[in-house]
């Protein structure tokens, strides 16, 4: 053991990250064209309502950490564990639409966050000609609301005591496909091959109350893995990142399952979309095709469209970059009158390993179709030291 350290800290901090005028009800500019085209300016109240009773958010954070280095600093490990209690949590709280306002900042809740960060660095091999260095890190945290407004353990389907404050996916529960001869009480206009939704409250109809938590867009853990190899003057660097345990609402998957466009042949079709339900192909989860894909979306819309049909695991490992480099020997660089010279080939975002059925589990909001995928880049370069 060459080094050993223990760290501990405790802090109480506030949160300045809120609009400075949150205690005031604000009037915004508005216009109206009285007299034809001359817009008269006015004021309109709305949006966020002022809350004069606001108090500071308080974050009590404690942290214990440990650093260990061994084998002549060839291996070092650092571990941090933290526990954060937030009271008087400041959140924009949705007001009833009939108030005429969208929300107000309130001291809504208390919440607890526990987390771990682990960082491991090692040099497994170190000889004159060959060297291998690596870094691996792993993080996770869990947050949950511990207390909400007095007398209420939920404010909405997604904000409740015992659940994380964000990243909760609320939706209808996919219950397979309707088959011929099924009872269509729940979806009177449905046809065999349509998506079936579970009637959670057993009231004989599908209403917004049949939505529940169907997943969490919160990873169970994530981190990175860095490897560096050197053989004589050639180095190879590989950087990877990973994330696991989170779910995504992959709406584009339902849209692209099969061609559903009215206007000409511009639709893309996924390969498995071909395995759609027909009266003779009933052992499938791909609904029957129809002009407007109503068999996929038979439900009242909501913050999340669709159903748990489109909730998919977002686990992935991504190779973010691979770089192969060569240091030109010094007897050559001296001839060229440069101090040093390095030539390299590099590829960025070369590989993604995932079972997620969308383009990329780590690319913005998956409910948008328009996200452009990350592109793979190849670079060839020379670095000169003059």
């Amino acid at each position: 053991m060459s080094d050993w350290k223990i760290r501990a800290s405790y802090g109480l901090i506030g949160n300045q990250n809120l609009p400075y005028d949150a205690i005031y009800t604000r009037y915004n500019n508005a216009q109206y064209p009285f007299n034809g085209s001359n817009a008269t300016s006015g004021y309109q109240v709305g949006g966020t309502a002022g809350n004069p009773t606001l108090e500071w958010e308080r974050q009590h954070q404690s942290n214990i950490g440990m650093d260990i280095a061994a084998l002549g600093n060839r291996v070092s490990l650092s571990v941090d564990v933290y526990n954060k209690n937030i009271t008087s949590l400041l959140l924009p709280f949705n007001l009833a639409p009939s108030s005429g306002f969208y929300n107000e900042q309130i001291n809504v809740a208390s919440m607890n966050t526990k987390g771990v960060d682990i960082n491991l660095q090692a040099t497994p091999v170190k000889t004159r000609n060959f060297e291998w260095q690596m870094t691996f890190n792993w993080s996770r945290y869990k947050s949950k609301i511990t207390h909400l407004l007095p007398g209420r353990d939920s404010v909405s389907l997604s904000l409740r005591v015992g659940q994380p404050p964000s990243g909760v996916l609320v939706n209808y529960v996919f219950d397979g496909l309707y088959q011929q001869g099924d009872d269509f009480t729940l979806n009177p206009n449905g046809k065999p091959g349509d998506i079936k939704i579970r009637d959670l409250n057993h009231d004989g109809k599908i209403t917004p109350q049949d939505q529940t938590i169907v997943g969490y867009n919160i990873p169970g853990g994530w981190g990175g893995f860095w490897n560096w190899f050197r053989y004589k003057s050639v180095t190879l660097t590989v950087l990877a990142s990973y994330e696991y345990g989170q779910q995504l609402n992959n709406l584009p998957y339902t849209n692209l399952t099969y061609y559903n466009s009215w206007f000409g042949n511009i639709g893309n079709v996924t390969k498995e979309g071909g395995n759609y339900w027909t009266p003779t192909n009933t052992h499938t989860n791909i609904p029957r095709p129809n002009a407007f894909a109503t068999s996929l979306k038979p439900l009242p819309g909501g913050p999340d469209q669709g159903s748990s049909y489109s909730i998919q695991k977002g686990d992935y490992i991504r190779i973010k970059s691979i770089t192969l480099a060569y240091d030109i020997p010094s007897y050559l660089t001296q001839k060229m009158k440069v101090r040093n010279m390095n030539v390299y080939v590099q590829t960025l975002e070369p590989f993604l390993f995932t079972k997620y059925k969308g383009l990329d589990p780590d690319n913005g909001n998956p409910t948008q179709l328009e996200n452009y995928p990350r592109y793979r880049t190849f670079l060839v370069g020379v670095k000169l030291g003059l």
Partner: protein, 511 residues
Amino acid sequence: MSVGLAGMIALAGCKKSLNYTPEVFVAQPQVFKDQAGATAAVTGIYTQLQTLKKSDYALIGIVGTDEARCTYQSQGYGDYWANVTGLDVYDIKFGSQNYQLTGFWQDCYIGIANANAAIQGIPNASIADPSVSSRLLGESKFMRALFYFYLVQLYGDIPLRTEATPFSAGVKRTPAADVYKLIIDDLKFAVANLWVKSKNPGIGRASVEAARALLGKVYLTQKDYTNAKTTFEDLINTNGLTLLTDYSQLFDGQHENNAESLFEIQYSTDANNTQGLQNLFGSYAGPPIPGESWGSHTPGSGGTVVMATAYYSDTVFDKNNDKRYLASIWPHRYDGNGNTMDWWVDPGLPTIKKYDISSSDIDIYNSGKNLYYLRAADVYLMYSEVLNELAQTSAALAPLNKVRNRAGLKNLEDSLGRTPTQAELRTELLDERTRELGGEGWRWFDLKRTGTLVSRVQTHNNPRAYYVTINGSGDPHPAQNITDKNNLYPIPLNELQTNSALSLTDQNPGY
């Protein structure tokens, strides 16, 4: 309360002045300090009505009726448009999370919150002329009544919030009768304190005429025919009603705020003051006039979202004699050879012409054309309805005939060769209201008031017959879905979730 006027910061030592726009905000006491501030706050209420009516929320009241329907394909434009189509076909999208009926609710209540703030604030403002102060109060109450009138008709019992209600308070659903009481009190105040149209400072402000017309409509909706009669007669005898001689001028964009208009929602081609309704009402098939050019700057083009029902476009008019027919409807679309495109089952169908842009507009998404809220012809037809319901059927013919004559039609009794019965005139007035006011936003409310919503939607919310043959059972047809429960809209789910005085069981029946 302190004021955040950051604009007062002086930067000593700077030689050049910074091009710096401070973030300024104004709170209630500053707004309602003087006449300018109070007037600006009242302007903001009008802005909210303009916002409510500038895009697809305006389809509430128009589609899902016997005169206008959503196109077959609008449902396939994506989830948002499937929600719009839900307003027409009363399917599963016509629920408590429907974007349009949720947004309509929210936008009306934003208007109400602004009216409430003004009603609370105006008495504190130092305004030299008391008649100005009471006019501003009258405008605020007129607007509050207007928004509540939409809400109470669509949703039934609703949370009633007045200037005395704190915004963070939960409010229970108030019985519709009490909501109507506030609406009537507000409008009576407005009648007493607003100025007449000709005296108003600024075209487009609520006037005595507008308040009387709306109060009469509210009484009619409540079936209080006696008070409705008095109110309409006050309007006709004291203020006078004028019809433009040429019906088509009402919608040509060149005669805004005309003599017939009682209250109009004002738009202009300034930034943020435009509306985009032509895009909803037009079609992307060829031009409606053979050989015309075609694009986002030409009247009649659009996104094929709303079309006229066969009842409105093909059967309700006396096509040869009624001048309103071609002023209201584009009957055909044409290809490059001048042949009709009636074969194209959706875009080729007749569309409503009243929202067409005029030559001064930017494009079909940005039109400066005003929208009618109330006009004289509506009042004449309502007055006729009131007299007919009071069993004064012969007297009811006179106001109806004014509207008919302007359209180039003979008196009804001359066309029929006799005086109609009360029941006949009832049906005739419903037809006449479509001929005169089709697509102007009152139809759903007319049908609900007369108890004919379900039956007339089932009978008339159809496209031309061949269309059904081609699209078959794929057509999202409201007749399959509409039931008595649809006389009320569902209360938005987010209201039930966030209003602490309500729970999920406070929903209207059947939703």
